[in-house]
């Protein structure tokens, strides 16, 4: 019971973090058809900017400045770099952002070194939110989840309740039509790209103070986020929310379970045989928790090739 509740809480917070990053990716893809490979690098950039700023001006300034800086970087990428390769198709846009991801990672290494930096939450936030089964549950995990929820409420309100939001959604469906109606679509695109990047930057700034901040954090989270969008269906915000939570929960439960295929064979009395074979059969779930998302993706591809909520291919 204790395990189930703790794992659920951890899974949901991790899932919400995934959603913070995958939402921007999904929004940008839905509108422009650009799969931004550097999106997870924006997440990493957010963490490092927040680290650099917070070491001088304090934690909260860092949290505030990071999304702004990352958002501006995103806008610059959309404004100055993407148009140059647009004529060569979406594959080249993907490749360009892929190259940018490599450059960002190497720049981070250049300025901050190969090893994790000491980016920490302030002492004031380092307390237990509540006691559960005799151990304290860190408040900061709840804080990450809360930031994600607030961010989405705001984003959702912006998209559904404001004029700009309606233009954004119109541009997502029919960009030429929206442009013909007199909206400045290039500016809208630039802002959406910037907002998506800023969301990733904010996620990095918030999560970097809890999880390790190192030059691999971008690609490590990036692959999981890509799995999220494949499982959820690219372009579907709802799909990426469901997939984020699903993968968050699967991962956090897997960490604590020592199930193995050999264990399943025990039920039919073949456990000893399976153990003698070894290899994959005796691998414990907990040790392969990093593999779970990828296995889940393959299963979803078999059952629903378009993703859980996706229709477009």
């Amino acid at each position: 019971m204790e395990f189930a509740i703790i794992s659920t809480l951890n899974g949901v917070t991790y899932g919400l973090l995934l959603f913070m990053v995958s939402a921007g990716l999904t929004l940008i893809f839905g509108m422009m058809g650009v799969l931004n490979f550097a999106h997870a690098s924006f997440y990493m950039l957010g963490a490092y900017v927040a680290y650099a700023v917070s070491s001088i001006f304090g934690f909260w300034t860092g949290i505030l400045v990071a999304p702004i800086v990352v958002g501006l970087v995103g806008m610059a990428v959309e404004r100055f770099l993407l148009p140059r390769v647009h004529a060569h198709g979406h594959a080249h846009e993907l490749l360009l952002t892929f190259g940018l991801a490599l450059i960002i990672e190497e720049l981070i290494k250049l300025f901050f070194g190969d090893f994790p930096v000491n980016y920490q939450m302030p002492e004031a936030l380092r307390f237990s939110a509540f006691e559960i089964f005799g151990t304290g549950y860190p408040f900061y995990r709840m804080f990450i989840g809360a930031v994600a929820v607030i961010m989405f409420t705001v984003l959702w309100l912006l998209l559904t309740r404001t004029r700009t939001g309606i233009v954004v959604r119109a541009a997502e469906r029919l960009p030429q039509m929206a442009e013909a109606l007199g909206h400045n679509i290039p500016i809208v695109f630039m802002f959406v790209f910037g907002t998506g990047a800023a969301l990733a930057g904010l996620a990095g700034a918030v999560a970097g103070a809890f999880y390790p901040t190192n030059p691999n954090m971008g690609i490590e989270l990036g692959v999981i986020v890509f799995v999220v969008v494949v499982v959820g269906g690219l372009g579907s915000l709802k799909g990426s929310l469901v997939a984020s939570l699903l993968i968050g929960l699967f991962s956090s439960f897997a960490v604590g379970l020592d199930w193995s295929i050999a264990g399943m064979f025990d039920v039919v009395g073949l456990g000893d045989w399976a153990r003698s074979v070894g290899g994959l059969l005796t691998l414990e779930l907990s040790s392969v928790s990093a593999t779970i998302p990828f296995a889940l993706m393959l299963i979803v591809l078999l059952v629903r090739p378009a993703g859980l909520m996706g229709e477009r291919n």
């Binding site: 893809f29 799969l35 770099l81 140059r84 390769v85 060569h88 979406h90 594959a91 080249h92 993907l94 490749l95 360009l96 892929f98 190259g99 940018l100 490599l102 450059i103 190497e106 720049l107 290494k109 250049l110 300025f111 901050f112 070194g113 690609i219 692959v223 890509f226 799995v227 969008v229 494949v230 690219l234 070894g278 290899g279 994959l280 691998l283 040790s287 392969v288 990093a290 593999t291 998302p293 990828f294 296995a295 993706m297 393959l298 591809l301 078999l302 090739p305 291919n313």
Partner: protein, 426 residues
């Protein structure tokens, strides 16, 4: 292939056979790596350039090929009879089998989805391999020894080099032949218009799985060659950086030209051999080169060369050669400025410099770069790269204007030729 191309290829082959015995061990080893990455890039580009399927996870098949070869080598050590020169067959077979399964999944989707699924499959291997002691040897990996066969010891690097050369040439030719087969033509059709292929009676998914599997098989051979050369491999072969390398090399070399990827693989591998001791920022420069190629020459080095060869009759080399040299000079200035800034950053933000600052009680002591001493607080230190960059950009822009004009004149000349019929040369 035209006869000129055939002669050039034959010449290259003669050089590759005749020169290496006279080179040092370091160069022999570097050439082995050039050959292996060339085959890897060619195999990758079968999928990418011919079928239009961009894979971000080819490390999986490279790694699988390497481990398969190593396991066979261990079996040979234990007394199994198997000719050492045929070891890459194990890599090819393993790549083929894994490629069929992975291809089945990944080609269910196309476009960016395909790229993401291939990436995720490679990560699956990368995350699983350290936990599978028996197959991938855990974190330490698997090691073995090349065993002698029929009087060939395979103890020296030059023997391994010739083995590698033989296999790479063989597989390269096979990949070339592939483009001439009916299925090779169908592969191009798939890239152009998958939907129409379906309506002409082909099972497009089935066809894509075959292309994927052939590409994975050749990648597996390349991985096996690496394993034979290194006699060891660990799970890091599955890492994203291996997949990224082949993407970079292929596109910088040129994915639209059959031998383009070989150019990219050669340039990058030789560069990393020559300068990876000098700088830790080699990966940064690689990324920068890749992005610049994507922005300004999306067809890559091979594509640009091909463009010039196609237009060689209409181009006045004597006239355009000068501006090209000027442009090259501008490019070198920009490169020098960029390298100066990057290397300075590497020093100033490095741990050694932090210690030096502690020694100088918080000041900014001078640092050594390119045999000179630079002070971070002296404006001259930053004026140098600034002048290099600005000067380079200025020269490049001016030269480009002239080059564009010459190319435009060439186009005019051709149209004039066509209208007048027998137009003179300018």
């Amino acid at each position: 292939m035209t006869s000129i191309q055939k002669i050039l290829l034959a010449l290259l082959l003669v050089l590759l056979i005749a020169v290496p015995p006279f080179l040092g061990l370091g160069w022999q080893n570097a050439l082995i790596n050039v050959l292996i990455s060339s085959l890897f890039a060619l195999a990758f580009n079968l999928l990418n350039g011919q079928a239009g399927l961009l894979s971000f996870g080819h490390a999986a098949y490279f790694g699988v090929g390497a481990f398969a070869a190593l396991h066979l080598m261990i079996a040979v050590e234990d007394g199994l009879f198997f000719p050492t020169p045929l070891l890459p067959l194990a890599g090819g077979l393993a790549g083929l089998v894994v490629g069929v399964v992975a291809g089945y999944f990944s080609t269910m989707r196309s476009g960016v989805y395909f790229a993401l699924v291939t990436l995720a499959i490679a990560e699956l291997f990368h995350s699983l391999a350290p936990h599978l002691e028996g197959t991938f040897g855990g974190e330490a990996g698997v090691s073995s020894m090349r065993m002698p066969w029929m009087g060939l010891g395979f103890g020296t690097i030059i023997e391994v080099y010739y083995l590698t050369l033989g296999w790479v040439v063989l597989c390269g030719l096979a990949l070339w032949a592939y483009t001439r087969t009916p299925f090779g033509r169908l592969t191009l059709a798939l890239r152009d218009n998958e939907q129409r292929v379906k309506f002409l009676g082909y099972n497009a998914h089935y066809a894509k799985v075959i292309v994927f599997a052939v590409s994975a098989m050749m990648t597996g051979v390349a991985g096996a060659l690496l394993a034979i050369s290194n006699e060891t491999a660990n799970y890091s072969l599955f890492s994203g950086s291996v997949s990224a390398q082949v993407v970079l090399q292929t596109f910088v070399g040129g994915s639209t030209v059959f031998f383009g990827p070989v150019i990219g693989a050669t340039v990058f591998t030789l560069f990393s051999f020559l300068i990876s001791d000098l700088t830790r920022s080699w990966l940064f420069y690689q990324g920068l080169i890749f992005v610049l190629v994507m922005l300004y020459a999306p067809t890559g080095i091979g594509g640009v060369i091909g463009h010039h060869i196609r237009n060689r009759r209409q181009l006045d080399l004597a006239k355009i050669g000068g501006p090209y040299l000027v442009a090259l000079g501008g490019g070198i200035l920009i490169a020098a400025g960029t390298v100066f800034l990057t290397e300075s950053a590497e020093v100033l933000f490095g741990q050694d410099y932090a210690m030096a600052r502690d020694g100088a009680s918080g000041g900014f002591p001078a640092y050594d770069l390119f045999g000179l001493s630079w002070s971070p607080l002296n404006p001259v230190t930053w004026l140098v790269p600034l002048v290099l960059l600005c000067g380079g950009v200025f020269i490049l822009i001016r030269a480009r204007r002239v080059i564009d004009r010459l190319w435009a004149r060439k186009d005019e000349a051709t149209t004039a030729d066509m209208t007048v019929g027998a137009g003179g040369k300018e």
